[in-house]
């Protein structure tokens, strides 16, 4: 605390001057103009390559550099918004060389400026590892949320789909998972406003909707409003965000006004989505055979479907394809209008306004998303020293959800239900009510033991489940020069999000029928403000330049929420709208919550450059967080980075092919504060009891406090190289190691403590990896409209290893689903986080000889039988017991990659994004039921390739009771599948309309395009989509597929006009 206070008074700045004498020199003067408008360009930085000499163009575009050594020199011209240029000039002693240079305006992605925390920096001066996402990607593909932009486009950024539902959550990992229990999502900084994307924390209470996938909190941000995205990855880049930097930082800047005259644009697209892949399941006749075979293989054989019954069922013609019943062809539409511009007086006003509407039906009947958003960005200068600006955006995303993920029994969703429901049941019974697997299957024989899974069609059609996310986001700033080169900026931001989720189960659904309707209303309001005050001193002294930043910020976030549930409705007419109409005994169940968290920080950064070649960045941030325990409120996060731009060394000048060569190294400490508010405090919960029939309230200790609870600390080293060749190939490579200590672990307490678990800082985990990025013009024909093939490739490989768990060698992750009691994933020292944990299998036992050859006994001391899945006796004790469970696979991929190819010729452009992941395993829980009972449908492969005495080579075990014989609720690795995939994520063909057409419409630019999304996926995974993180966006239960919302294949056509 003391340290922090003294920081409050921190004085900055060490200034050193240096000079240099020259002999035999001349002078260079010239003018810089815009190649399109031929207007002079102010503020262009002009440097003499290989020297410390530099100048800057004035308001007439003129520049002058003296004392230039005589001889041939190269000049580099750089300006924000324009492509850099190199010019050769010969300087004679005591003479003045003059030249005029045209700079070509270009899109932001190629500008050498990158957004870093609290400012921007020239790409060439960056010492940290920062990826930028091309805005071309932003403009050219129809995308609904911004996280889709990050997928496959930046090395080291792994995007996993938690739910493919419209508005469903996406989980992003920058350089691996550095936390076990904490939030491992990156920090988002939108127009300077830091937002912790705590997906679970920010979703409204589930209010009895068991295990629903949380929605995506970034869904309200309209991707069309985005100007640029930077992803800060190493400690040097993220340390400026201190305690929140460990998971990487995604800096998003929205479009600002620019140019002079107003530029109107109109974008629209329309598309259709279809399910990309379905399961091949049994039809009625096959199912009956299967069920009969199962029953015959039971310990007491029976025949649930005798021939007469079978004939009767088949004659009735009922053969329901349940997947067909819940999936549909679904539309997607988007429209956006915007205007940008600036008034060009002495104190210009820049403006950017936009309005967009996005409407997407989901491919599961009943689901969909609609977003309406508007944004105003304004910027006013007063003279050349003072500037104020404001941006306000308001958006509303409304989605209709269908229960889809999570469980398989009574809480199963539509997708899981569709995979379980048997084809011999009709969607509707003759009396118009929905069929019910449990009773309707037991009608044939109770021993079929039909699962209590609700009818999937009833879930899709009848359940009203609406989510709304309304977000108002405002930023206000003022900045001005206090003295020359010293800028003060004061910013105030407000983020207000109002979320609700209302659900009603009518009587036509199983859940509703049991309680005469069930309604849930859940709300959550998050309001957050931030005040940021920074001083920035930016000045060059001869060959040295300083960019010093110091700041003080405060942020506060309040969350209010409530949930109300009610049952016993007189009728279904009013649904959740009139929740008071329920007549539940004791009245509606109501709960509410409130939390506050605050953060106070001091930050400082020095960017120092010597001779334009030797770069140094020092960063420091001190964060005080309310979430940390009383004894651990403050943390400090320093980092240092150095860069060496070899390409500007005089000895490199002869390698003309190399236009950029930079070596970088950084080291620093950042934190992850993902403790929820108040978690360091002990707490009591309410639980009542009755005396003499009267209820009394009571409080009991439910959580033990921890006064030492603090942030997770990540120390990261990064070494990198940036190489530019022939001004057309850019290559970047980084190697990093990230070691996170003081991991926040929910450690299971011994049962005898009376508590389940407690949060403590234990253990450590390491991520290390390499990232490669290559951006090149493979072919670039000269001239406007010449053929161009641009390729952008990235590759990342991350190794995750748990180094310590603070005592235990392993801890179990939370249950995959409460339908299975035993945990399915484990966190184990020496292994990556979240290993799958179960029994190893070694194929199906062919025959009695093979069974006899097994030297150990199965679970419970039974002998293995032909047709059993052979379970491996891992510990060699001659018996399969729970101790033979072991780690059986890793959900994290070995490497991920992306490849974007753009071919353009005249006004035609073809862009394709291939994206892939290799080596991760997926636990296909959808298949687990098929091993234990004839009450659910199974895949055709499972049936046709099963072991039978006649087919001893079958790859699947015999049909019948528990052929794995590993006890209840366990699973073997035959449910684990290879989740590697290569996907053509998008393919876009666009055509700029010819000017003859344009003249007629009055448009300056017009483009028409067709895009296919997820056209093609190459994978061995048998489920809908290997890119799943199941019902959870947490860190430990990844790669789990339980009725996950399937992937859609989308064809979109769009049009955009600019006037």
């Amino acid at each position: 605390m003391k340290m922090a206070k003294s920081l409050c008074l921190l004085a900055l700045l060490l200034v050193a001057g240096a000079g240099a004498a020259q002999a035999q020199t001349g002078r260079i003067t010239g003018t810089v103009v815009d190649s399109q408008t031929t207007r002079p360009l102010i503020g262009t930085r002009v440097t003499v390559v290989g020297t410390t000499l530099a100048g800057q163009s004035d308001s007439d575009g003129r520049f002058a550099i003296g004392n230039v050594p005589a001889g041939a020199q190269q000049l580099r011209f750089q300006r924000i918004g324009f492509a850099p240029a190199l010019r050769s000039v010969t300087v004679g002693a005591d003479l003045t060389a003059t030249l005029t240079v045209e700079l070509r305006a270009q899109a932001v992605e190629l500008t050498p400026v990158v957004a870093v925390g609290y400012g921007t920096q020239l790409r060439r001066d960056v010492t940290g590892a920062i990826s930028t996402v091309s805005t071309e990607a932003l403009e050219n593909a129809p995308i609904s949320t911004i996280d889709q932009l990050l997928q496959g486009t930046s090395p080291g950024v792994q995007v996993t789909t938690a739910s493919s539902a419209p508005g469903g959550a996406v989980s992003i990992r920058v350089r691996g998972t550095s936390s076990i229990t904490g939030n491992a999502e990156p920090l988002y900084v939108i127009d300077g406003f830091p937002i912790e994307n705590d997906i679970e924390g920010s979703s409204v209470g589930n209010g009895g909707r068991d295990r629903t996938t949380p929605s995506n909190p970034l869904v309200t941000l309209n991707p069309s409003d985005i100007e640029s995205i930077s992803i800060l990855k190493d400690a040097s880049a993220t340390a400026i965000y201190g305690a929140r930097g460990a998971n990487g930082v995604v800096i998003i800047s929205t479009k600002q006004g620019r140019g002079t005259k107003p530029q109107f644009s109109f974008d629209s697209y329309i598309g259709v989505q279809n399910i990309a892949k379905t399961y091949d399941l049994l039809n009625s006749a096959e199912y009956i055979d299967y069920a009969n075979e199962f029953a015959q293989n039971s310990s007491v054989p029976y025949t649930p479907f005798p021939d007469a019954v079978k004939a009767q069922i088949l004659a009735s013609g009922v053969d329901t394809d349940w997947q067909d019943e819940i999936f549909r062809s679904a539309g997607v539409r988007n429209a956006q209008i915007s205007v940008r511009g600036a008034t060009s007086t002495g104190s210009p006003t820049k403006y950017s306004l936009s309005f967009g509407r996005f409407d997407q039906e989901g491919i599961v009947v009943g689901s969909g998303l609609r977003r309406t958003s508007g944004r105003v960005n304004l910027d006013q200068s007063f003279g050349d020293r003072i500037q104020i600006g404001a941006s306000v955006s308001a958006s509303q995303a409304r989605s209709k959800s269908v229960p889809t993920a999570g469980q398989q029994n009574a809480n199963a969703g539509a997708v899981s239900g569709a995979l379980q429901y048997v084809p011999i049941l009709p969607v509707l019974r003759p009396d118009g009510t929905y069929s019910y697997l449990n009773t309707d299957l037991n009608f044939y024989d109770t021993r079929l033991d039909g699962a209590p899974t609700p009818n999937p069609v009833s879930l899709a059609r009848e359940v009203s489940d609406s989510l709304s996310d309304t977000r108002i986001f405002g930023n206000l700033f003022a900045q001005g020069d206090v003295i020359r080169d010293l800028k003060l900026r004061v910013g105030l931001g407000v983020d207000y999000a109002d979320r609700w989720r209302n659900t009603y189960f009518p009587r036509t659904t199983l859940r509703g029928s049991l309680t005469n309707g069930a309604a849930i209303r859940a709300t959550g309001v998050t309001s957050s403000w931030v005040n940021e005050n920074t001083l920035n001193y930016n000045r060059a002294f001869g060959s040295q330049s300083f960019d010093v930043l110091a700041g003080y910020t405060r942020q506060r976030t309040d969350v209010d929420g409530g949930t109300a549930t009610n049952t016993q409705f007189v009728s279904d007419i009013t649904g959740y709208f009139d929740i008071g109409a329920g007549t539940q005994e004791g009245g509606p169940t109501v709960s509410s919550r409130r939390s506050t968290q605050t953060l106070e920080s001091y930050l400082a950064r020095l960017n120092y450059s010597l001779l334009d070649r030797y770069l140094l960045t020092l960063t420091y941030r001190a964060d005080g967080s309310s979430r940390f325990a009383s004894d651990k409120k403050w943390g400090s996060f320093p980092s240092a980075a150095v860069g060496w731009r070899l390409s500007d060394e005089p000895f490199m000048r002869r390698f003309t092919a190399i236009n950029e060569l930079k070596l970088r190294a950084s080291l620093g400490v950042v934190g992850n504060p993902s403790i929820r508010p108040y978690q360091s405090l002990a707490r009591l919960n309410d639980q009542g009891y009755s005396f003499n029939g009267t209820p009394f309230s009571g409080y009991y200790p439910v959580a033990v406090g921890n006064p030492f609870l603090t942030w997770e600390s990540t120390r990261q080293f990064d070494g990198g190289i940036d190489l530019g060749l022939w001004e057309r190939i850019n290559f970047t490579a980084d190697y990093y190691t990230k070691r996170t200590t003081d991991l926040l672990l929910e450690i299971d307490l011994p049962f005898e403590s009376g508590f389940e678990s407690a949060l403590a800082n234990r253990g450590s985990v390491e991520n290390r990896g390499i990232e490669l990025g290559l951006d090149t013009d493979v072919i670039r024909r000269r001239g406007k409209g010449g053929f161009r093939w641009h390729a952008n490739m990235n590759f990342a490989r991350n190794r995750n290893e748990v180094l310590s768990l603070g005592g235990p060698e392993s801890i179990f992750a939370e249950l995959i689903t409460t339908d299975f009691n035993l945990p399915g994933t484990i966190i184990q020292v020496g292994k990556p986080i979240g290993q799958f944990f179960g029994f190893k299998s070694a194929g199906v036992i062919r025959d009695s000889a093979a069974a006899a050859a097994v030297t150990y006994k199965n679970f419970g001391g039974n002998a293995f039988k032909p047709g059993d899945m052979l379970v491996v006796d891992v510990n060699g004790d001659g018996l399969i017991t729970l101790t033979d469970r072991t780690d059986i696979g890793d959900p994290t991929p070995d490497f991920t990659y992306g490849l974007t190819n753009t071919f353009s010729w005249r006004k035609l452009e073809l862009t394709g994004l291939l994206q892939g992941s290799s080596g991760g395993k997926v636990l296909n829980v959808n298949r687990i039921r098929t091993e234990s009972s004839p009450r659910v449908n199974i895949s055709r492969a499972r049936f046709t390739d099963r072991w039978t005495p006649a087919n001893p080579g079958g790859t699947y075990p015999r049909i019948g009771e528990n052929p794995n014989q590993v006890g209840t609720n366990n699973f073997t690795d035959n449910l684990l599948e290879d989740g590697s995939y290569l996907r053509l994520r998008s393919l876009t063909l666009s055509l700029g309309l010819p000017s003859s057409l344009l003249n007629r419409t009055g448009a300056a630019k017009a483009r028409f395009y067709v895009t296919g999304t997820n056209l093609f996926t190459s994978t061995d995974y048998t489920g809908y989509d290997p890119d799943v993180s199941g019902q959870s966006v947490g860190n430990t239960n990844r790669g789990i597929d339980i009725g996950a919302y399937p992937l859609a294949r989308t064809i979109t056509t769009g049009l955009n006009f600019t006037y």
Partner: protein
């Protein structure tokens, strides 16, 4: 220029307004109670105690209502007898307990939840015992609150010791996350602790409470549980020679407190007679979700359309040989089992079909328990009938058992048993039995008198050889009756003898994973718990 100065003055003012202060980072809880603002007055003390009682009706995450008294404890206690069985198949985790299934192991979930729930209740009681003495309040009530908490703590330990033998003795509330692993106490130490707590509690608790406090532990409740604890420790070899005599003395003290057998046996369990003079202490249930009973769902006939919510599951039902063995005049047969379901104007009969347990589509497969079933409950966990955990019928039979153990089948012991049989409207016990036969007769009487009241396995522990022979005989009888059996019956037909390891349940394996000091019970080694005897 002046304008600029004003703007900067404004900015400076903004900055100073947000200057450093400590309060900004202090966490003040708003939507929850923390120890810092609790345990301050009499209301808080009573509130803490109430939550300790609440363990019996509702549980904290990750446990659910079904995981302790709401189901799992019943199943662990009443299944492994010849009284009840399950409709479910043999491999089902529920059936496993009752069929002495070879796959039953220390990883069985019910063991874990019961163990965990008991300690959760113990911690709540410990919090009261630790924190309440420091509260400034009426000292008489303060001492009573601590005594009530000691009774509650003993109830949990009684169950734990009965199921598992010696267990770790956790006698203070948990304040920190670090601590040495707590090893198991011996059975002797565990029973001694239970007896000490109950002796303390009995000295302070009143004979009865004002009407509004009905349901709290009384002196009679503490003494009854104390006497049962003496009997249990004596009969399982975990006590000393004097324990039988102490049981006799203590039960006799209970006899002086005014309890009597209720003439109407069935009414004790159906919620209509909850203040019967026979009931010494009962778990208080009301028709409020989270404050009521949870058993109807498991007891009542499968898919009986009249049961609320998800339908009943019929996870308990009578074993036919036992059901058929009631004396024809015994009123307890109808008081214990339901043969016709009458509710809301509907009558749903069942019948044994084709052998043991016949399934009809929407009916039951056998008589189902009547005790504690509330067909009118509005929801799961909101059933009204109180659970009579300690009642005078048990006292009489237990006293007879204790007297027989100290002095043989005296006329006093006979009179006690016959008092119970008289209420059941059946003739007196055959006179002139030897000590051993009398003992077994008393145990058999307990089966009829106390079926489905959570005594079964504790009785088995005190007379294991007899209990084993009962179950094995039952298996043989089922085999004789059986024509088209359910699989659960098939498993019971297994000729394997019931292993001695069943004298105790295994320590749940997950408890050992979290506490490295725990040793397993004999015969249940699982490779994770420390081997038995270490």
């Amino acid at each position: 220029m002046k304008n600029h100065l004003r703007i900067f003055a404004l900015l400076a003012a903004l900055l100073s307004a947000t200057a450093c202060n400590d309060e900004f980072l202090t966490e003040v809880p708003s939507d929850f109670v923390s120890p810092e603002n609790f345990y301050r007055n009499q209301g808080d003390a009573l509130s803490a105690l109430t939550s300790a009682y609440a363990t019996f009706v509702d549980l904290q995450s990750p446990l659910g209502n079904a995981d302790y008294v709401g189901r799992n404890l019943w199943m662990l206690v009443d299944y492994p007898t010849e009284v009840a069985t399950s409709r479910l198949s043999a491999g089902n985790e529920r059936s496993m307990i009752g069929t002495y299934h070879p796959q039953f192991s220390s990883s069985h979930r019910y063991l874990e939840t019961v163990y965990q729930a008991a300690y959760s209740g113990i911690n709540r009681a410990n919090a009261v015992i630790d924190r309440v003495p420091a509260i400034d309040m009426n000292p008489v009530r303060r001492d009573q609150i601590v005594a009530e908490a000691k009774f509650l703590r003993s109830m949990h330990y009684y169950w734990l010791a009965g199921l598992f033998g010696g267990v770790p003795l956790k006698l203070a509330s948990t304040q920190a996350i670090d601590g040495e692993p707590l090893p198991r106490a011996t059975a002797k130490e565990t029973w001694a602790q239970i007896q000490k707590d109950l002796t303390d509690a009995a000295a302070i608790l009143p004979n009865s409470w004002p009407a509004g406090d009905f349901g709290r532990a009384t002196k009679g409740a503490a003494l009854t549980l104390l006497a049962k604890a003496y009997l249990q420790s004596a009969a399982t070899g975990a006590g000393d020679a004097g324990d039988y005599q102490r049981a006799v003395t203590t039960f006799k003290t209970v006899q002086t407190l005014g309890y009597t057998l209720d003439a109407n046996y069935a009414s004790i369990f159906d919620g209509s007679n909850e203040k019967s003079p026979e009931i010494i202490w009962s778990i208080q249930n009301v028709r409020i979700v989270g404050s009521g009973g949870y058993l109807s769902q498991w007891f009542a006939p499968i898919t009986s359309p009249v049961i609320y919510q998800a339908g009943a599951q019929n996870q308990f039902q009578a074993e036919r040989p036992f059901y058929d063995s009631y004396h024809a005049a015994d009123v307890r047969k109808a008081g214990t089992w339901m043969t016709v379901l009458n509710y809301a104007g509907r009558t749903i009969p069942w019948a044994w079909t084709s052998g043991i347990q016949g399934a009809t589509q929407y009916g039951s497969t056998g008589p189902v328990p009547r005790k504690y079933v509330d067909l009118g409950a509005p929801a799961n966990g909101a059933e009204a009938p109180d659970y009579a955990m300690l009642r005078y019928g048990d006292v009489l039979l237990s006293l007879a058992e204790a007297i027989n153990a100290t002095s043989g089948p005296t006329s006093e012991a006979y009179a006690l048993v016959n008092q119970v049989r008289a209420r059941a409207r059946i003739p007196d016990l055959t006179p002139g039995l030897g000590t051993a036969t009398f003992r077994d007769s008393v145990f058999l009487e307990r089966r009829y008198e106390l079926a489905m009241e959570m005594h079964g396995v504790f009785d088995n522990r005190r007379n294991f050889t007899w209990a084993r022979s009962r179950v094995e005989a039952n298996m043989a009888q089922i085999a004789a009756l059986n024509r088209t059996p359910f699989t659960s019956s098939v498993e019971k037909l297994d000729t394997r003898p019931i292993n001695d390891k069943w004298k105790l349940y295994p320590i749940p394996v997950h408890a050992c994973e979290l506490n490295s000091a725990l040793a397993q019970n004999p015969g249940w080694d699982d490779g994770i718990c420390k081997p038995a005897g270490t």
